[in-house]
């Protein structure tokens, strides 16, 4: 009778390193949604998220030799680290491309956003601004600021988790987060 127990991530990693392509496909099937979710925090276009998934699994494949799982969630944490780095690289690349310039915020957008900021806090929490406007506002932040704020406020990572994912020290994450928040306040200040 065939075993119904799913092989662990570490077993699949060992099989992939030994040359089993099917094992890597199983790892891909198991974790692609997690990687897509991380990509989706930074990028809104489907094609961009697909690129993040592709790059993350390609990098992971070549780094499998350096993976040493210690607990059940190790592979997921390790893959998250690679995915976060991929998102960071893509943010940097997007900034370098002049054709990706998002342009200025139109007067109507600024007016609408300003009204939203002045509305009661409960409403502001529940209402979202347009994706286009949000992208234009966030384009005024550096990639590091965007990365640390997204991981803290949207993904809900702790400072320690961000430090692990970015290979930064905990104090660097704290300083970065503080500065990033100040920079975002400065960007939003003019609409208040």
């Amino acid at each position: 009778m065939a075993s119904l127990v799913e092989p662990t991530d570490d077993v699949l990693v060992s099989a992939t390193v030994a040359g089993d392509e099917g094992a890597f496909e199983q790892l891909f099937e198991r974790h692609r949604r997690q990687v897509a979710r991380i990509g989706g925090r930074f990028f809104s276009q489907r094609e961009q998220i697909e690129e993040i998934i592709q790059d993350t699994f390609t990098k992971a494949y070549f780094a499998l030799n350096s993976y040493h799982g210690t607990h059940a969630a190790s592979f997921k944490a390790w893959l998250t680290q690679i995915a976060v780095n991929c998102c960071y690289d893509h943010l940097r690349r997007a900034r370098r491309r002049p054709e990706q310039g998002l342009g200025d915020i139109e007067e109507s957008e600024a007016h609408e956003f300003s009204a939203q900021l002045r509305s009661p806090p409960v409403d502001v929490e529940t209402r979202l601004v347009s994706r286009d406007l949000a992208a234009k506002l966030l384009a005024r932040l550096s990639e590091e600021d965007r990365l640390v704020l997204t991981l803290l406020d949207v993904e809900g990572f702790s400072v320690a988790e961000i430090a692990e994912a970015t290979n930064w020290s905990i104090s660097k994450v704290k300083v970065r987060a503080h500065r990033a928040r100040a920079n975002l306040r400065r960007v939003l200040q003019r609409y208040l």
Binding site: E21, R33, S44, R46, I49, E50, T58, Y61, V129, L192
Partner: protein, 143 residues
Amino acid sequence: MFKANSQNNEDLDRAGRVVLKSAAADAETVEAAATAPFLFTRVRAAIKEERERREESTSWLSLIFVARRAVPVMAIVAILAAVLTVWSVGLNLSASPSQNDEEALFGPAEPGVEQTVLARGNGLSREEVFNIVVDRNYGVNAK
């Protein structure tokens, strides 16, 4: 005033969170990306491409490594060749003093009948050779 400032910062932070959440993709887009057809095929193709690129760069690296080892050997060979050349020139200079004597006597070699005659080394001076030529021409004209 401090309280007002703190309230202002709180409002801005809340607005900032809204902006960050708004910039993210919605759940449908994320799901569509995760379940895109042929996504694993694309990953496999990217892995193959990366592997080829790495192999190519590895072969270039090995070539550079071989070249790095060959450069000192080639330098030694070049130095040996230069030393041998200088040594053989020195040997030739000391081995043929008569040629130098002829040069000292007759000047540097120039093409021509007279030089050929002189080069035979019969001990004739330039004037004697000139006289022989003049006499020969005179004889021809006299005939």
